[in-house]
Symmetry: none
Subunit: 249 residues, 2 copies
């Protein structure tokens, strides 16, 4: 059996089964363990699969990259509940904006099957949107590596071309005095422009964001409704200024 043939077989098996034992490959190819090991090393070198103790598995690159693992560690039922409600506001035919961020990311799976158009600046969102076959536009501009968001004047210009039925925005801080805030002025500019282009505006924020202020204000409280899981008292004072939908996990 020739090397490419063997390696091809290994790749196909791994892709079909997501994980495979070395013993199985030895049996399947009739080659020795050493040979299979060498093949796996080469295939890993080439980035085709990932070596694990006892065999190999497919490159779950998306799920074990720091950005994504970070995301999964900060997954919570609270965010999930917020995302679920937000997604329920979307009707067929809508054109919506989904901001970069983990709460908004959680919305995507709940949009499956809807006939909508999505615009986003969140690069991590694109995989999930592709997977669900949702018509997607991405903003163009500078890629901010840390948050996997597109920012900058290029993105702002792209934004001006669009009008949204609904936009879903993330925020790092919400306060009575300073409104909605986020650490990065560049990202704030995107959020601000998006709000201007949208008929319906929602900020998605879990309880931890309330009474917090970060560097850049991107909107006053009046400019968007809030979807949150916060159930505490202080909420009443916010209700004077905007509409708040409280969800429970």
């Amino acid at each position: 059996m020739l090397t490419p043939e063997r390696q091809q077989l290994i790749l196909e098996t791994v892709k079909k089964r997501h994980t495979v034992k070395i013993k199985e490959l030895v049996e399947q190819t009739g080659s020795s363990e050493s040979t299979i090991r060498r093949d796996l090393d080469q295939l890993e070198q080439a980035g085709e699969l990932r070596r694990v103790h006892g065999g190999a598995s497919i490159q779950t690159s998306a799920s074990d990259e720091p950005s994504m693992s970070e995301k999964s560690t900060i997954y919570t039922p609270e965010k999930e509940a917020i995302a679920l409600h937000a997604a329920s506001l979307v009707k067929d035919g809508d054109c919506i904006f989904i901001d970069a961020g983990s709460t908004t990311y959680a919305m995507i799976q709940h949009l499956k099957g809807k006939d909508i158009t999505v615009v986003t600046n969140g690069l991590n969102h694109l995989d999930a949107l592709s997977e669900h076959q949702i018509k997607t536009y991405v903003l163009g501009g500078l890629v901010k590596h840390r948050t996997r968001a597109v920012v900058g004047t290029g993105a702002l210009q792209t934004l001006k071309q669009y009008r949204f039925d609904i936009c879903f925005i993330g925020a790092n801080g919400i306060s009575l005095n300073d409104g909605f805030t986020t650490p990065d002025p560049e990202e704030a500019a995107i959020k601000r422009e998006t709000l201007l282009q949208s008929k319906n505006r929602y900020v998605l924020a879990d309880a931890s964001k309330f009474e917090e202020v970060t560097f850049s204000t991107f909107a006053e409280l009046q400019e968007a409704d809030i979807i949150t899981n916060h159930q505490g008292l202080p909420l009443d004072s916010y209700r004077d200024k905007t509409t708040i939908k409280v969800v429970t996990p």
Copy 2:
């Protein structure tokens, strides 16, 4: 058995079976091992197949699933060699465009440490670019799920804002009559516009792309240099029209 007849038989066998052993060919043709070896060498020179220890295999290593079910890009030494040379053309301070596609993707790892700005329409590229801390701009526009490329008028408009020192473009077909071609008119438009915005223009194409024509022409041969691993005879007729750099794995 005549040489062309023998080589034709070899080619057919390789294309049908994806990989073939020298012993089998000796038996099949009744020629000696030496003769078969010489045939394989010639066919490899012409870019028709790839020589491997013990026999030969087709170039695209049989995993012709162009769809993006897995994010694994099909790796071949040929593509790698092309990518390596392409990357060597990039100098510190350059602003370059990298087209979507697997050959151009392979360039990225070789750009590590260079002080450059990259613009791309390839969404898969972004992870690798982030990883290497390369300043990156992404085109905005419609996300084409199958090829993970950004296309459409939005992307074209974004493009017009940039000027590139060098651009590296992929092509699915290269022919004397029809120039550079690609299946999707939308992607062709992006490639066309990019070429217009660039001082130096390179098309990256492995041997299998020569003498092929697909749906949309995006440039004449004169409009870009070619980097390839193809070493066959027909290359001379192309050299009348453009510059070709041949690399070996």
